[in-house]
């Protein structure tokens, strides 16, 4: 029945007869779906842009560093300084909740004083002592060479992996870096790898100006003894970060004689909490967008419904004739509903198509490196959802006019002009 040529002949005859009216009515729905998709795309752009800051780090990770105690405990006054040490790492290594434990140290900073030299070239960079497993927490991509390995740790090798900014400052443009030496605080390190940055913004800038060296070498070369600057930790799969974090804090507080209720002694940053918070915010934004978008769409659908009522009124006599020659109320309802769904769907598909085209264009224009706003596109599931909404909306738009049409008294209809 739906695919019958006669149905479509009638629909196209109506459209042809009232081109402008049909176009203006369809504009409402087209605009509604256009706005919905554009807003969803923009929302996604914002989400991708902001969440990309997390792209360089596992979202189930957290970081913990030593601060000053704020409460007295076992005869010790508040304000006591303490450091993490290798024994802490050994103790934490026993915890089942931890997936990856990576002690770290660092010196210098990209906006600090010059601490690295190569010949006459000098620069201020962050030198970080890490274990190879840091690559499981911070996504490290190499442009060339290799990253740290266990032998580097074991043999306390003086090797390093440098970021793009380090290369740019200390090397000529086309100069080979691998095998060359740089001097960090007066100690030579052999370059074995080059990193490229992941993520963007502040994090990318930091990464770009970083020199990674083996953790054991760091402690040894820069006289850190067994001091650990901070722990980068990720939870085991399926284990909430907050649980692991609590457990780690409890172990460290016990080892360093810190009151359990002292919340300032240990500094910590939980990636998962931030990630969940931001995801919640974006879910809220997306909900709001759907609400506003659907509202706009409803306005358009009401327009379609209105015009369908007019169409039914105009075609009253025709409906009467059809009823007289054997059309059932169901036949009449089907025809009107089909017309309504068709108009809504066509308008919606055009709106959808234009909006997707615009978003794709915008995506190409701004690229994938723009801070705060990236990849402002919607995925196929949104397009499918929008289409389903359109068809349902079209059916709703046609429902009242169709019921009105089916209720037309054939006698009255035949009398009407």
């Amino acid at each position: 029945m739906i695919l019958e040529r006669d149905n479509w002949q009638e629909i196209f005859a109506t459209i042809k007869k009232n081109k402008l009216r049909t176009f203006l009515t369809c504009m409402g729905v087209g605009w509604g779906i256009f706005m919905l998709v554009i807003m969803l795309g923009a929302g996604n752009g914002l989400k991708h842009g902001i969440l990309n800051d997390f792209a360089g780090t596992a979202t189930n990770s957290f970081f913990m560093w030593a601060q000053k105690t704020s409460k007295s405990y076992k005869g010790m006054k508040p304000g006591r300084n303490f450091n993490f040490n290798n024994a802490d790492a050994m103790a934490l290594g026993q915890l089942d909740e931890i997936g990856v434990l990576s002690p770290q140290n660092s010196l210098g900073d990209y906006d600090g004083s010059n601490n690295v030299t190569r010949g006459i070239k000098v620069g201020a960079f962050q030198v970080r002592g890490s274990y190879p497993n840091i690559s499981k927490i911070e996504y490290i991509k190499l442009a060339k060479g290799r990253f740290l390995n266990e032998l580097d740790i074991k043999e306390k090798r003086k090797i390093c992996i440098i970021g793009p900014r380090v290369r740019e400052v200390l090397f000529k443009k086309d100069e080979e870096t691998i095998g060359q030496y740089i001097k960090v605080n007066g100690i030579y390190f052999k370059v074995v790898g080059e990193m490229i940055t992941t993520g963007n913004g502040e994090q990318a800038r930091e990464q770009s100006s970083r020199i990674q060296i083996p953790f054991s070498t760091f402690q040894n070369a820069f006289n850190y003894g067994d001091v650990i600057g901070w722990f980068s930790i990720s939870s085991k799969a399926g284990m909430p970060c907050s649980v692991t974090e609590e457990k780690v804090m409890s172990v460290l507080k016990d080892r360093h004689k810190i009151a359990l209720e002292d919340n300032l002694a240990l500094g910590h940053w939980n990636m998962e909490t931030e990630f969940v918070k931001l995801n919640g915010l974006f879910a809220g934004i997306e909900g709001l967008i759907w609400f506003v978008g659907i509202g706009t769409l409803i306005a358009g659908v009401i327009g379609i419904s209105n015009i369908m009522l007019i169409i039914v009124k105009e075609r009253t006599k025709e409906i009467g004739v059809k009823r007289a020659i054997g059309a059932t109320p169901y036949d009449v309802i089907t025809q009107i509903m089909l017309e309504s769904v068709f108009l809504t769907a066509i308008a919606g598909i055009i709106g959808l198509w234009v909006s997707i085209l615009l978003l794709e264009g915008l995506d190409n224009l701004i690229g994938r490196d723009a801070p705060m706003f990236q990849n402002p596109t919607v995925d196929i599931s949104v397009a499918i959802k929008a289409l389903i909404i359109l068809i349902v909306a079209g059916a709703f738009a046609g429902l009242i006019p169709a019921r009105k049409a089916s209720a037309v008294n054939p006698v009255e209809a035949l009398r009407s002009e």
């Binding site: 019958e4 040529r5 006669d6 002949q9 009638e10 005859a13 006599k317 025709e318 009467g320 004739v321 059809k322 009823r323 007289a324 020659i325 054997g326 059309a327 059932t328 109320p329 169901y330 036949d331 089916s406 008294n409 054939p410 006698v411 035949l414």
Partner: protein, 240 residues
């Protein structure tokens, strides 16, 4: 074929009730060619609408082909009965403007779920019967009044009805064309189909076999030997 017993029909006009048909008793036999005459407001169109199951009635009984047509018949059931038994021809032709001649003729078969190819083939046969096969691809706007009415007749015949109802079929036509149309109705009737024509023209009614005259909602038996008043069936209850 069509039997009415003590049939009443009224309309509510504001606060007052207007009785249109006041106890009509009528029997039209299979294969009859009948005209219903009456002045404006006599109730002839209402009678035709009830006979055509386009309208319901208040009291009485209506039998179509021996089957009682219920007063409270559903719209769907009414549509099915119309589709099976009845054909309609209207004064203003009522062809669908966006369909060509063959598609207009084929329309009743569309509602009987006949495939497009099949129904158009049958429609062409009926167009041929009314002499318009050469005009099959023309839209109604390209046809004369007489041609449109012949297409309407072909449309009314395509579902092989037992009765054709024609409401002022010649009202919009000149006398020559009217005679042609009545000739077609005669040919249809000769094939055994009952034809009921509503008209206010004496010339047209004279071309039928029996004239039923209506005045103020009742059937007259005056000045026409063709008028028939059937006796009420004593076994049926008296309507309220």
């Amino acid at each position: 074929m069509l039997r009415l017993e003590k049939l009443y029909k009224s309309y509510q006009l504001g606060n007052s009730k207007f009785e249109v048909l006041k106890g009509i008793d009528l029997n039209i036999k299979p294969g009859e060619f009948v005209s219903i005459m009456g002045s404006s407001g006599s109730g002839k169109s209402t009678l035709l609408n009830i006979l055509g199951i386009l309208d319901n009635y208040d009291e009485g009984w209506y039998y179509l082909n021996g089957q009682l047509i219920d007063k409270k018949l559903t719209q769907t059931k009414a549509a099915q009965l119309r589709s099976r038994f009845l054909g309609f021809v209207f004064q203003s032709f009522n062809l669908l403007a966006f369909k060509n001649a063959v598609e207009n003729v084929a329309l009743p078969l569309y509602y009987q779920k006949v495939s497009r190819k099949e129904r158009n083939k049958i429609a062409e046969e009926y167009l041929d019967k009314v002499g318009l096969l050469d005009w099959k691809n023309h839209l109604p706007s390209e046809l004369s009044g007489g041609q449109k009415q012949r297409i309407a007749i072909a449309r009314s015949l395509i579902s092989q009805p037992k009765v054709i109802f024609a409401d002022e079929p010649t009202g919009a036509l000149d006398s020559n064309t009217s005679a042609d149309i009545m000739k077609i109705f005669r040919e249809v009737n000769n094939q055994g189909i009952t034809v009921v024509v509503v008209t206010h023209e004496d010339d047209i009614s004279r071309m039928t076999d029996r004239v039923i005259k209506l005045k103020d909602g009742i059937i007259l038996n005056e000045d026409s030997p063709a008028i028939e008043i059937i006796a009420p069936n004593p076994e049926l209850p008296t309507p309220n």
